[in-house]
Every structure is written in structure tokens, then in C-alpha cells.
Amino acid sequence: MTAVPLAAVAALALALAVPPLVGFDPYYLYVLGTGWLWATLACAWGLLAFAGQVSFGHAAYFGAGAYASALLSQSAGWHPWLALGAAGLVGAAVAVPMGLGARRLGGAPLALATFAYAEVCRLVALNWTALTGGGAGLVGIPSLPLGRERVGHYYVALGVLVAALVIVAGLRRTPVGLAWAAIRERESRAELLGLTPAPYKLLAFACSGALTALGGALFAHAVRYIEPDLVFGRGLSLLPLVMATFGGAHSLLGPPAGALMLYLLSEVVLQPTLPRLHQLPYAMALVLVVLVLPRGLAGIARRVEGP
């Protein structure tokens, strides 16, 4: 994907900032806000994929962020914004073991490890009742001080998404981004050319984990109730994966675009009309990606663009 004119992006961001001001229906604000959140999660997953690492366990970071922010703001009395920031750091920390593991494993074995790791995190949250409240979860999580809730959450989620995209776009232009791309494309050759992959893989995991955890924290403060199966559930590992790969895992705008398309299709089109089939878009996207469209929508765009 070639550089999208900055002006167009800025215009889009401004346009998206308008709906709440014009008095959109709160339900649609809620849906869009959730859409921004999923787009952020897909972006985070895509960042790791850009560095050539495939994760089947992003739920670990989402849940870690949710619990961290909830516990810090609720039990430790931290200000919610502070707790949110700390949650990001917790997410990075939780991602470190996997980032270190990427030194030894790659491809399918690493994916399996992340899968098992997410399950470990879920079980720890489930069984460490003293800390996490176990299966009963945490209730009454303080919300972010945002004035009008729906509107506030809309802007926060949008803000996080835009910030994430800007940061990721920036990173991709630096030597770090080049290292990630080289590792993804052919790690062995990159090593021969003088690149040590390990620290870059670790960095990718940490960034991806931090951003995902931030999403988890936002979720916790918006919904105000979390439990292990909710925030450590496998859906949270699968959906960002499907969304990102559907949009085009290695592109910048592919993952958020894929996320928005699939989520809005599911929530706005199917849920009201055919609720039993509301998971269909994800299932179809998955089948499409695996069997037909390995590069997702971005791949189609590129074929149209030419080589």
C-alpha cells in the first residue's frame, strides 16, 4: 500500500469526529465506538504479523489489560486514566515471555505456544480467586471520567485508533519497520546481512501486547464488568486474527478496515435481522482468507494497482 495522502487521512479523521456532535443515536455511537475498538485490536494483531509473528493468543493481552486496569482503578484506587496507561505497560510485560519465546520458535510452533499461553492466562485469572475474584469476575469497575458516556467512549476509542495508526505508520518507516519486514520476508537472509532478529521480535510482541491491553482496559471501563471467559475468551484471539487477515495482515489500513467491515456487517446488518447468523461474516471471512484470499482485501487492491 503506497503512502496515503496525509490530508485525506486528516479529513477522514475529522469527518469521523463529527457524528456525536450532530446528535447521532447513542446506539449507533456505541456500535461505532466498539467498531473503533475492534479496529485497534486488529491493528495491534497486524503489527505483530507485519513482523512475521503469528499469534493465536492475543486474548492473553486483552484480558491482562482489562484486569490490570480494573484492579488498579477499583482495588488500588488509581485514577482510571492512570490505570489505563498502566494497563498498556502490563500488556507489554505479559507479551514479553512470548516475545522471548519467538527466539526459539517460529511459525506453527510459536502459534501453538501463544495459544497455550492465552489459555494459561485465562486459567490463572480463573483460579487466582484472591486477586481476580475467580469465575465471578469483577463488578462495578469505575468508568472513565468522560462526561456523556457514549460520546466519551466514542472519542476515546477513535482517538486510540488514530494514535495507534499514526504510531504504527511511523514505526514502519524507521529501521525498526525495515527489520520487521525483513524478518517477516526471510529471517535467515536478514541474519546473514547483519540483523539480529531477537530484539525486534521482542519489541513487536511488546508493542502489540501493549496496544491490545489498552483495548482491553477501555473495554473494562466501558462495560464495567469482566470475568475470565469474557476477556480471556478464544474469540478475542480469533477475531482480531480474522479481521486483520481479511483486510490484509501486512498492510497498515487493512486490519482496521477489515475489522470495521466485518464488525459492522455482523452487528448492524445481521444482528437485527438474522441474529442466529450474526457470526457468519467472520466465518465466511475466515474461509475466504484461508482458502482463496491469503493476502486479504489488500491483496485484491494490489492486484488492481499492478506490480
Binding site: 503469528v54 493465536f56 519465546g101 526459539r104 520458535l105 517460529g106 511459525g107 506453527a108 510452533p109 510459536l110 502459534a111 501453538l112 505456544a113 495459544f115 497455550a116 499461553y117 489459555e119 494459561v120 486459567l123 490463572v124 483460579n127 529471517e187 535467515s188 471467559d229 478464544r234 474469540g235 484471539s237 480469533l238 486474527l241 480474522v242 487477515t245 457470526q279 467472520y282 466465518a283 475466515l286 474461509v287 482468507v289 484461508v290 482458502l291 491469503p294
Partner: protein, 292 residues
Amino acid sequence: MSLTTLGEAVVAGLANGAFYAFLALGFVAIFSLTRALNLAHGELVLLGGYVGYAAGRAWGLPTALLVPLSAAALVPVGLVWRVLIARVREPVELNSMVLTFGLSLLLQNAMLGAWAADYRLIATGPGAVVPGLSTARAAGALVALVTILGLEIVLTRTRWGTVLRATSRDAEAAALLGVNVDRVGLATFAVAAAIAGAGGVLFATVHYLHPGGGVELTLLAITLAIVGQLPAAAGRRRQPLLGLLAAGLAVGLVEALTLAAAGPRWRELVVALSLLAVLFAAPGPAERGAAR
């Protein structure tokens, strides 16, 4: 821990272990033939259990009949899996994981929809073969041993087994030698699904069924598949399934002893952690080869 408890734990552990190896057969069969990693394995086993449970409730059939019934019922599912997985592109390991991950969630939701989140059990008669080893567990272990040993014989001593092993090693070469690779594939997936179905029923006589319980079974199968391969990696390739059995027995034993010592709460965690341990502990080149 008294000696009696220890003894009981060992017996139960070995019985469970044999059964775990049996449960993992379906996963291993699919991986050996196609290199596909079926992350929906656990859900398929549960499905077998649920089908058996439903049939038992609806028609009042004895448990012994439910086993083959469920096995047969899952064969069409296995064929569907075959069709989908055969179309997965390279790298097969990763892409099959993506596909089956999605399928596993679809299955989980389907089971949730059909049977809700309640815990269900297929009732069997009371009684124990030996103290600490219920009839149900013993039956499961027996079926497991018979099946594994039987399959081992088929694999190593029959023509069909040779065909299967050849196709696993190099499908193209086998095809050039006149093997109908498609038929081998269909048969393998059908058998794998049937075993999963049978295993599910036996599983449900001893453990509670609930839709979310598939992950643990999948993690266990993967762990056993990796550990079971180690003797093969060391050069002793002649008894592939016995390696799996040995791995199962080892895991069952460790689990039973941990259970006796520390109680049931952390059991699932131990399963997940052991997969992590196995992935990171296994010798490097095997991973690297599959990964790059």
C-alpha cells in the same frame, strides 16, 4: 499420601493416560497425513460425547452401543473436515490452524446452542474394577489399548498400513506408485473422526461435558503428539503409535500424582503449561524445520 492412595493414583493415572493417547489418535492421524493441525480436535471429541448423550437420552440405548453410534455419526463430519483441510494452502501448518481455530469456535457455539452451558454426563453403572478405578475408566482404558495396539498392527504389518505410511511420507510419490491418495485421505479423516466420536462417548462417561471443555483436550492431544514423536526423532521409527501410548501413560501418571498431591483446581493449568514446556523443551531443529 498413603501407599494405597499412591497405588490408586498410579493405576488411575495409567488408565487415564492410555485413554488420553487414544483420544489424541484422531489429531495425530490428521497431522501425519496432511501436516494440518486440527485445533478443533477437542470440540470434535465433545461433539461425539454430546451425540452419544443425546442418543442415550432419546432412545435409551446402553452406553456400549452409543460408542459405535457416535463413531459412525462423526464420520460425515470428518469428511467435511477433509474437504476443507485439503484445500488449505501452504504453509499448511499455520493455515490449517487458522481454519480449524475458526471451526472450533463455530462448533463450540453450535454445541452451546444445542445443549447450553450445563454440565452433562453419560451415566454408566456403578462399581469399580479396582479401588480407585471405576468401571467406566477401565472400559475407556481397555478400548484405548485395544485400539492403539490394533492400529499399530495394521500400520506396521498390513498392506493398507504400508500404503498409509507411504502416503504420509510423500503423497506425490505414493500417487505415482498407483495409490489412490484421495481415498486414503478420506479413509484417514473418516477413521480419525470415528475415533474422536467413540472417544467422546467414553470421555463423557467419566468427565462432564461442557461446550468450553474442548480446548483442554486439544492442548492435550498436541502435547502428546509432540512428546510421542520424540522416539521417532531419536531414530526409532518402527512403532509410531507406541510412542504416543508411552507419552500418554507418562502424562496420565504425572497428572494423577499431581492430583493426589495438590487437588483438582490447577489441573487444566498443568495441561496448558505442559504444552508450553514441551514446545520449548523439544530439540531445536525439529521446530526450526517446521517453522521456516
